[in-house]
Symmetry: C2
């Protein structure tokens, strides 16, 4: 209704606050109040019936942090969004310390581009769609293709490097089995950082800087974490680390040593034996070992097990012979061993066989294959022998042949007890707690379920080559000269050395909730708590609560992110709600105030419950928060 001109601004701005309060019909005085903040805990804040166990994901829902919209797709409610926003600000801070610039790439990407990089195929878990002109798009689960194209088009010289760009955006994955709330969703928030350097040594500096920033970031959460290596630092390979929380909800297993810094994700097992002091170079000639040659480092095997898998091409049955029960040094009971399918897959891949681990009845599939065999390709059997089991001198095939109703001439048989093209023996089994560390003389290994929250990854030229993201570099620099020493102007065009470094934002919210949950509810580290402190007044004590609020938010000490629970509910209900939601500190304005003007400060995580006068509150609260 108005044509605003500039001269009318100032008086308008002066009127603003008063009008605002009059018009909005809510109690708005600049203080954070629960009554102005949508926390739907009403009907659904009832505890579950006895015997039903709630986990952190249930509490995130009951506490009013989020709601599931569809399987693996969530709406964040105000409390959940505040946690996520604080986490994003924490990430921003540490990305900024890296000199990384923040961008925001489109969620829409083109299938054509992904075909160029070779990442789009039948099995790709991406949502695809066409626009009205039948252009084929997808919802990006990650942005290597887009950022490489973007940076490649804008960067021509090594002088613009290092370049570090990141974003915190929604990502999408057509996950077959969405589960565990935010831990494995189909729409989720991720931070993805992409780095660009002109040489491998420069990229290695960047890699270390990123890894350092990640440890700084995780340190601020003040929750123990593991940094698992994917490779022992061989830059030519896929240098990569993963950041994990140990958690019963975890779908990864991380193995760590009690003595040295050897920490790795079980799925990165390469199928080779690695033993402290063993030099793979000095090994004997490859070949099948007899009983006498059993691995010196291996603990005695009590019984041998057999494990089967089938190949993607439908031709090969793989059998893994492994120690089903074996002894551990220093223990008297044998332990049951399990096959590490990742290790077996790695060996099979090296032997040219692509295993399909999702096949449930490998033997039946293979028998069917034998029965329908044609003349051009014989059905195949490959036996793998773990270094801890005896290699059979003659292939144990009679059972198989009988089942398939064929003879050994009808099939092609082979066996392996060394990793293809190496002298390394095979390791098919998962680590069991108490196994000896293969990296140091003294340590024992533990294997823990863990949630992967971040990774650092050196990509090299995987994307920059195929998408033509190159820079010109002074040749002397590539030969190792330092920039100040460069005299000649001879330049060379090289693809950029890239890194990608992810952090799961949504899953971190869930993982932190899981890590700190207790019988009363959630608990948040200070740095991502929806509010740091909640002030809970009893009836008629609202103005005292406001005093407490003001003294926490505007005193001499640094301002504390405080919330005032001004709802017209009983003290017990409000305290239960505060426990459920997991504010790090609660200040109770109750009977203590009426009696002798004291307030009760509660901190469940530190086991603190202490009465004190108002003037001690800011310092005491800060001292608690600094530990959380």
């Amino acid at each position: 209704m108005l044509v605003i001109n500039q001269t009318r601004h100032l008086s308008r701005l002066r009127q603003a606050r008063r009008l605002r309060i009059q018009q909005c019909g809510l109690h708005y005085d600049g203080r954070n109040r629960v009554s102005n903040f949508w926390i739907p805990t009403g009907g659904i804040s009832k505890k579950p019936v006895d015997g039903q166990k709630e986990d952190a994901n249930d509490l995130l829902i009951r506490g009013g942090f989020l709601r599931q919209a569809y399987s693996g797709v969530f709406h964040l409610l105000p409390l959940g969004l505040r946690v996520q926003d604080k986490l994003e600000r924490l990430i921003d801070k540490h990305m900024r310390s890296l000199g990384a610039s923040k961008v925001s790439l489109s969620s829409i990407s083109s299938q054509e581009l992904w075909e160029k990089s070779g990442r789009l195929n039948e099995g790709s878990e991406v949502f695809r769609f066409n626009d009205r002109k039948a252009t084929r798009f997808l919802l990006a689960p990650t942005h290597e293709e887009e950022i490489t194209t973007l940076v490649g088009g804008l960067t021509t010289s090594y002088k613009n490097l290092p370049l570090r760009v990141y974003q915190i955006t929604r990502k999408y994955r057509d996950e077959p089995r969405p589960r565990q709330g935010l831990l494995r969703g189909r729409e989720f928030i991720m931070k993805d950082l992409y780095t660009f350097d002109y040489s491998i040594p420069e990229a290695l500096k960047t890699y270390q800087a990123v890894k350092h920033a990640y440890t700084q970031l995780f340190d601020e959460l003040k929750i123990p974490y593991l940094v698992a290596a994917a490779d022992s630092g061989n830059m030519g390979g896929n240098l990569s680390h993963e950041f994990h929380f140990i958690s019963s909800k975890g779908e990864d297993r991380v193995v760590s040593c009690s003595h040295c810094d050897h920490v790795y994700n079980e799925e990165l097992a390469d199928g080779k034996t690695h033993h402290f002091g063993e030099s793979s170079q000095s090994n004997a000639t490859p070949g099948f070992q007899t009983e006498e040659k059993l691995d010196n480092f291996a603990p005695p095997t009590v019984s041998t097990g057999m494990w089967m898998a089938f190949s993607h091409d439908g031709n090969t049955l793989l059998r893994g012979w492994y120690p089903k029960f074996s002894m551990q040094e220093g223990f008297t009971e044998p332990v049951e061993r399990h096959v590490n399918s990742h290790a077996v897959k790695a060996i099979a891949t090296a032997a040219g066989i692509d295993l399909d681990l999702s096949v449930e009845n490998p033997l039946e599939k293979w028998v069917a294959r034998v029965q329908s065999r044609s003349s051009d390709q014989k059905p195949r059997v490959l036996d793998l022998y773990d270094s801890q089991v005896r290699v059979y001198q003659r292939p144990p095939l009679s059972d198989l042949l009988e089942k398939a109703n064929c003879t050994s001439a009808d099939i092609e048989y082979s066996m392996l007890d060394r990793f293809p093209d190496t002298t390394n023996k095979l390791s098919l089994i998962r680590v069991h707690d108490g196994d000896k560390c293969s990296h140091c003389a003294d340590g024992l290994l533990t294997s823990n379920p863990a949630v992967e929250l971040g990774h650092t990854f050196h990509l090299g030229t995987r994307y920059s080559e195929v998408l033509q993201a190159s820079v010109s570099v002074n040749s002397a620099l590539l030969e190792g000269a330092s920039p100040s020493d460069v005299k000649s102007s001879k330049e060379q065009i090289v693809p950029m050395q890239m890194g990608c470094h992810g952090l799961g934002v949504s899953r971190m919210v869930s993982a932190v909730a899981n890590r700190l949950v207790d019988s009363k509810g959630l608990n948040w580290p200070r740095v991502i708590a929806p509010y740091e402190v909640v002030v809970v007044p009893g009836k008629g004590l609202d103005s005292v609560a406001e005093q407490v609020y003001d003294c926490l938010t505007s005193g001499a000490s640094p301002s504390v992110d405080t919330l005032l629970d001004d709802r017209d509910k009983g003290m017990g209900w409000k305290l239960g709600d505060a426990d459920l939601i997991g504010y790090p500190v609660i200040v109770v304005v109750g009977n203590g105030w009426k009696k002798d003007q004291t307030l009760e400060v509660q901190c469940r995580r530190l086991g603190v419950k202490e009465d004190m006068p108002l003037d001690r509150i800011p310092e005491f609260v800060e001292s608690l928060l600094s530990q959380l």
Copy 2:
């Protein structure tokens, strides 16, 4: 590689800053430096060749704010993201003043839900996709369905109302013709606020509060804007307002009066005449008027034009008779008039005909229809007569019948000179600058191209009824009692009264750029500028520039968002770049400093260029910024 325990935290944190600087390989000292911030202006910052005119969207690209990824899909680069982030913070501030809580709903919504609300059909401009289980999803362009379902499931009593929730998220639209950069994209950021009340009077209070918050927000941008009404305040109808910038890039046209507060979007024309002082109740009996009865208020028509359109069902040809040239009071030259297709469509709709305005040759289509006619439905012709033209006593059909090779018996003919079911005459034409205002005695109208940036909309129970979002309300409240007077406990279940209130975040970035661009580059209002001030040092003056930076960011006056252009480039190049990017204020550390220790403060928008010593800088810069 590390298992972190809590005791190691503190010493680690102390080492952090030093390590960080050592490791990252960039100049990081906490100051905002262009060298640490990715502004790709290199190759693409060349000016276009002579004669090629750049608009603001070109400058947003050349200045390094954004890049197009696909038609209507954009990547935001760091500068663009900073502008967008500041705009989002501005919106947060004003939403907070409304007591609105921030949520973040999923971008994925289900087709099934949208079918329930009736918003999904053939013509819906939404991207659709299936997941691996063939569940039908869509990328939400807006979230009425989701929020109604969510709030409906969590809110049961009027005591939880008013409820105001908003989000700022990516939205998607399968736009047929994406154009003008961020102004009309297929992936874009919008703020959407949804309001819930238990009665229409309560919803009206909310509506006014939102409208007030919007004016406050637009006032802070300090750019003139228009608030256009869609309806004169009839709450039963679709009460709605639009917030516009006048802009040559605009695809809307907003009509405003020089005298009164009558402002409206031309597309909201309802096809009825509205004249100051006219009472539609006291009009003569409806019927066709003769020459003598021509509208008293209408200016004399010089010649009559005819305009045609065809119906969606392929049966009806609509002809609109309108004043092609007519006089304006006080002017001596006749003006050419144009049909307002929105007005014609509104009349046709009221007459039961759904016009398809995209048909390019209505007459040919209709002739084809006549030729293929069947016996069950006659092809139809509807003539509309603008109040300013003479109604023909006999339908002027001869041309038509000849073309279609049929007789008048083969077709069904009707005509209208009043709006169906009212006594209002028809207005088919667009407003021409200088036309008299229909709301006041004195004003003249202007029609301007405009960009719609926001709207407020009272939805009523459009979604809450069909998606069953209801609350129980004390009956006395519904009858108008104030909450404190309510005695009885009789309750009633009613669907919630909703409002939806949007702000185009992406398009606002583009619209602001368009509004303030000049021959040298962009200009940003202080509140959404990527940085408020850039400090540009000449060679060898870096440490002085750091002093200026520090004095702007950490002096006694409030901290100014400052950037240091520490790139190794000439002063002229850097100043040109600063002009292009549009920082509100530039502080030049150049020859003045070498001569007499003065700095030059530039503000292009205010035409300021002034030399002064360092100690005057903070106050002077603040005085400039407060005007921008």
